[in-house]
Subunit: 328 residues, 2 copies
DNA sequence: CTGAAAGCGCTTACAG
DNA sequence: CTGAAAGCGCTTACAG
């Protein structure tokens, strides 16, 4: 059983036109008479003809392929992101070449597939990139956008929530409510998201003369759960726990509940992301809503814009606080 | 800024060999003297040369591309599946072209991208395929595997857990514990997974003279939550709730807890999938563990085997019951 | 072991 | 509006 792929040549033969004409019918904007077009389309339909994207990409240098690399398969936030990206990219005629990495830093060899297929752009949502890799991509003139993080040392675009000001706004709420015993649970320390949320939150509160106890988490539920459990066992039940992301806040929330502490009466809990689960009745987590759709739009926009090569751009979007049942 | 892609020709020039030789160096198994190989590799390295997968695919008809189509972005189970697939496929030299669909049934146009890029195989994890689409794929000789579902009317491979026997085993446990008031919450009715789990569970229990109350869910947390909540409100608190998947069971579990019903003392809750969240301390859900890794391995195996075209195969794997804290 | 040449399935000037 | 021809970057018989 050979793979029988119909080529434009065969369509041309049956439609009594040249192969060039068939090609034109499938090239938006090319000039073909309506009559010819219909004739070709009819034959193509019968033969189930489909232009070969590889051949097309080879000659046009436009592959309509975008590489998407993602790390944290655990955090539901990124699944939503993936879904939205593929949907919106497809709407623009792009297909996504997906890479999932377990490494903290995306490796050269993982990016190689992207290069081999001449992807037109690369989106990195949750992993780190070494500057070597970025440099290589730049040599190949492939625009890279970091999604939901940034790295000053890297020459690439970046789209994220304005984590500092968001965290400040959350801090302002905490301050206004007159809470004194405040805990922040970090995410992975090497992520800009965790650092910025910590900074925005702590700086504001410190400037008001308040002290923030920081616990080092790692963006997992388990870590946060145990951190909180231990804290309570050691006799410390804070008035506020702000988690660097929702998963973190959820871990804290469950630890609190397990210890019989009433939320939000004794302790208020706040997250960041607004993943689907946070709106589940059991959790009803108050959190910062990241404007995912907008972030995705911006990313795609940036990637297309690259032609005017105005240098790496950093876009920060706002989002908003949503109060559910873990705050008052 | 032009995209400067180094071609084998340039490498050949600098290495003083023919372009064919450069090609051979990058073709596993081709005969090149070690000396030549080194020389070429050195130049290639300097120039950052990378064979163009499009050109290669065009001529060899081997694209090393696999299409993966997925629907339910909500169920964490499929994210794990996605992660494992990309990892294992990559290990075999394949890249994955990802499509996320919101349609109940995958549409022709969504599959078209797969065809245009000549993917070597297609994996469908959570969506339906019309027989038209499958037929078209068969015409193009592209093997399709349904992951975690099957469809008798479709001529394609399928890999899933043996849902019937798994559900039977769960039923046997329920029977053995002497529970009488038993509820099953379905998933989407048009999925084989939900139907089979229902069948295995109900048939066994019925054969023992027991009655199973069936509630129609849709594989979402919300639906299951409200279904359970209403049931309780209407005065019915069963001894057992078996959800067609974990998300379903989790929704029921939270509704139970919210109503102050003690789990597992008053009601036992069982799920199916063993998603990460089910092991979270708050839930500690007893559930059926799907052997994901094995299922993925089988799928990849099937896809490669297709050459011997022994017709569509249906593989069913076992998995096992894990008792956590929602059963006794 | 190596090179010259044909060809994969397209697009796109170039003529007409 | 349409066709003949060149060429994208590879692989692979075919000779030597």
């Amino acid at each position: 059983m050979e793979k029988k792929v119909v080529s434009a040549m065969e369509v041309a033969r049956l439609a009594n036109v040249s192969q060039s004409t068939v090609s034109r019918v499938f090239t938006p904007g090319a000039s073909v008479s309506e009559k010819t077009r219909q004739k070709v389309l009819k034959v193509a339909e019968e033969l189930n003809y489909q232009p070969n994207a590889l051949a097309r990409g080879l000659i046009t240098k436009k592959t309509n392929l975008v590489g998407l690399a993602m790390k944290d398969i655990q955090n539901p936030f990124y699944h939503e992101v993936l879904g939205i990206f593929t949907k919106k990219l497809r709407a623009k005629g792009y297909s996504v070449l997906f890479v999932y990495t377990e490494n903290e830093e995306i490796q050269q060899e993982e990016i190689n597939h992207f290069l081999e297929y001449n992807v037109e752009a690369i989106i990195v949502t949750d992993a780190l990139l070494s500057s070597n890799v970025v440099k290589k991509l730049q040599n190949n003139n492939i625009p890279v956008t970091l999604f939901n993080r940034y790295d000053k040392n890297l020459q690439c675009h970046s789209v994220s929530c304005d984590n500092i000001s968001a965290a400040k706004e959350i801090a302002a709420y905490v301050y206004e409510k007159n809470y004194k015993d405040i805990v922040f649970i970090t995410g992975k320390l090497n992520t800009s998201t965790s650092r910025d949320r910590q900074k925005g939150f702590t700086d504001f509160l410190t400037s008001k003369g308040l002290n923030v106890t920081t616990l080092e988490g790692d963006y997992t539920y388990d870590k946060s759960f145990h951190l909180t459990k231990n804290m309570i066992k050691n006799g410390h039940t804070p008035e506020v726990i702000f988690g660097a992301n929702d998963i973190t806040a959820l871990g804290a929330l469950d630890a609190l509940k397990e210890a019989g502490i009433s939320v939000p009466d004794e302790t208020v809990v706040i997250g960041f992301d607004d993943i689907k689960m946070s709106s589940w009745p059991h959790y009803a987590l108050s959190t910062w809503v990241q404007p995912i759709e907008q972030m995705v739009d911006e990313t795609i926009h940036l990637l297309a814009l690259d032609s005017d090569s105005s240098g790496p751009q950093t876009v920060k979007l706002k989002g908003h606080f949503i109060h559910r049942e873990t705050t008052k």
